[in-house]
Amino acid sequence: MEVLKIVAEGLTTSFRYPHFMQGVHPTFEMPPPATIYGHICSALGKWVPPEGIEFAYHFTYQAKFDDVEHIHVLTPSSGKLPGTKFPKVTEGSVNPFKRTILFKPKLTLYINRPEWKSAFLSPCYSVVLGRSQDLFTYTSVSSVKLVSSAGAYFEHTLAPYRMALQTGRGYVVLMPRFLDYANGRIPFFARYVVLHRRVYTEELIKYQELIGEKYWVDPESPEEKGAQLGLLFHTFVGDYDDQPVMAGLVG
């Protein structure tokens, strides 16, 4: 399988839990799939159909800390701006919010669309990941032919929820899987396993139906104990082996 491999690095990033809005903004420790979709579309310069896109990633950061932000909390308004004839559209007040930030994030993103290489070499919009001020740089854009192997290791990645029964480590989190921009940004959620520490396929709890399963590995990744970095691909829409999920299925 040939994929596009993009290495992106930044100084800060933050992926807010969508339903925690007031006062504090904790962050997911991995970019949610919906964020990855937005990032891809930003590079391409258009909303591409999400069907058929598959992605995997390796995401690290050096530290996590809290920052204080002043957020302008806005409400719709009417009338004129003082001393002018300009209509007043919104008004609000400045509020201190505490936001958790990931320092020195690095994303290695694999997409099953090698034909998008030129778009990532010359991205349409500013390269950001997380908030609009979280500027990123693509330090490498290349195509790579993945290798299928029964032996791999997984680390610093998002695993599909079904693997919670196998990994024996990590924690489960509900993340936005896709925002339907064509329909008022309706969100769809799914559960994933946040996997920081390395797990080798030989350590995975084996279930009958999974014996002999093979994984995609990156042949350019460091080799440890005879294994290389395994990639767990996700989709934005369509079937997902996790019910129930918030707001039902999409696709």
Binding site: R16, P18, H19, F20, M21, Q22, G23, V24, P26, V68, I71, H72, V73, L74, T75, P76, T90, G92, P96, F97, K98, Y161, A164, L165, T167, G168, R169, G170, Y171, V172, V173, L174, G184, R185, I186, P187, F189, A190, R191, V193, R197, V199, E203, I205, P244, V245, M246, A247, G248
Partner: protein
Amino acid sequence: MRKILSYTGHPFFDVGLAMVTVFAGKYDPSSVTEADLDSMASFIEREYAREPLKSFLGVAFTTNAWFNQPAFTKQPEKRSDYARRILRGYGKELPEERCVFTGKAATAVAFSDKLPPGRAYRQHIPLLTGEGVINFHPAGHTGLPVSGEAALCLQAFPLGCAKCGGRLLAVHSDNTDITYDFAAEFFGYNRQAMLLAQQAGSSKMPEAKMSAKTLLIQTLLNIELRRREEALDHRPSSVTAYHLTNSGQSNPLDDRNPPLEIYHLPIELTGFLVQLASPNYRAEWNAIAERAWRLALPGKKKKRAADGEAEDTRPKRNFLFEDLFQLPDNAGKFIRRYFLRVPAHVKTEDDPRGFYSIRDEASLISWKITDLFLREVMKVDQERIRQIRDLGDRLAAYIYGEDDRKFFTAFYNAKNYLHLRNTLIRANLAHVKRGNPPLITLEPFIEVFEEGFEVERPDRRLATDLVLIRMIEQLYNLGWLGKNKDTLHELKDDDEPEKGDL
């Protein structure tokens, strides 16, 4: 029967749904009926409008926000109308919008005269923005669309939480049985506290008597013990706790009492805790946990008694439980502290870890618990664990057989790697000179301590601590340690690597 509800993965909704299910006396939320929803709604309508829940709910839904606000005390019809809107909106769908939680049609009911139909705000769902605030919503559409069932579950949510440090502690897991058990446990306590407060004429819900993290671990251990006794399935799952307040008085910049803290217990930790509930480990673990409770200081006790306050002597914080949340990152330090009993530099006198002692608490040093920790939390492979254990056994047998106090003291006090290595080589040579086979051969030595020839492993200090744990346990069981207590000087709390070490 029509299936009304199922878990969604969202913590507030799921805890609320578990609460509705508990209240209905059922276990499976898919068996909850409209009659059960009505029953929950009636309870909330009655109890949320009076003390002590009336005051308590400011934590979850802000004060003066909806049907329980004081302005409605003299307007019972209006209060009933608002309660009906919020609690009984199910069956009145608005097909244009979908509930963000359940994916069903949002309710067509507006939660107040000023609000658009089916839209919920901070007074209905904790930690959302208030009415009219457009930040964080698409296209300026404020609030979240919810179904009637979801609105009710979210109102039931605080009943399934513990009141802890002036905030709510909600516990959620991808294993819905655990979410249910926590909600049931906390509701049992809340219902009793509510009745006691009403009988006493008090307007306050009592606080949980433990800190949030301690309460979480203590409750989880109790739940796992019960689940084990009931022979229930233990599948790998993680637990996440949300310690929150939605009160308008909360200050996001208050580090000591922030509006929201999230605690994760990853799968490796819950797997460890599940095992600890088994009879095989319970006694050893309880003995270690027992010595981690914050100490009651006599000076403070006297002051409270002098002030005429009823004294609560129950411990509130267990340092072992709280330090579990630092894992697996801090595993080496955790092992050193709790399994090897190395005392800590502590800031306060009531921290029992300052009094830990290898000499006086050798009976607490347990390879069995350490072995479980290595397997479940650190995922160390069995072969390496076996090598470390065997080395500990061999060294203990040597010390006991030769009564070699000098070697024991040197190994125990070895500060850096070269010192440790030389100590072992010297003992090995002496052992061979006495006509014995080598005490330790090259291969196991390298496997345990070295990454390459004469290059120590990054976790060499941890390996040394583990060998010591096994060695001390064996020597204690053989009675050698009891006779040679004077050989044991307390190890220092040297969290920072010393010069030349590592």
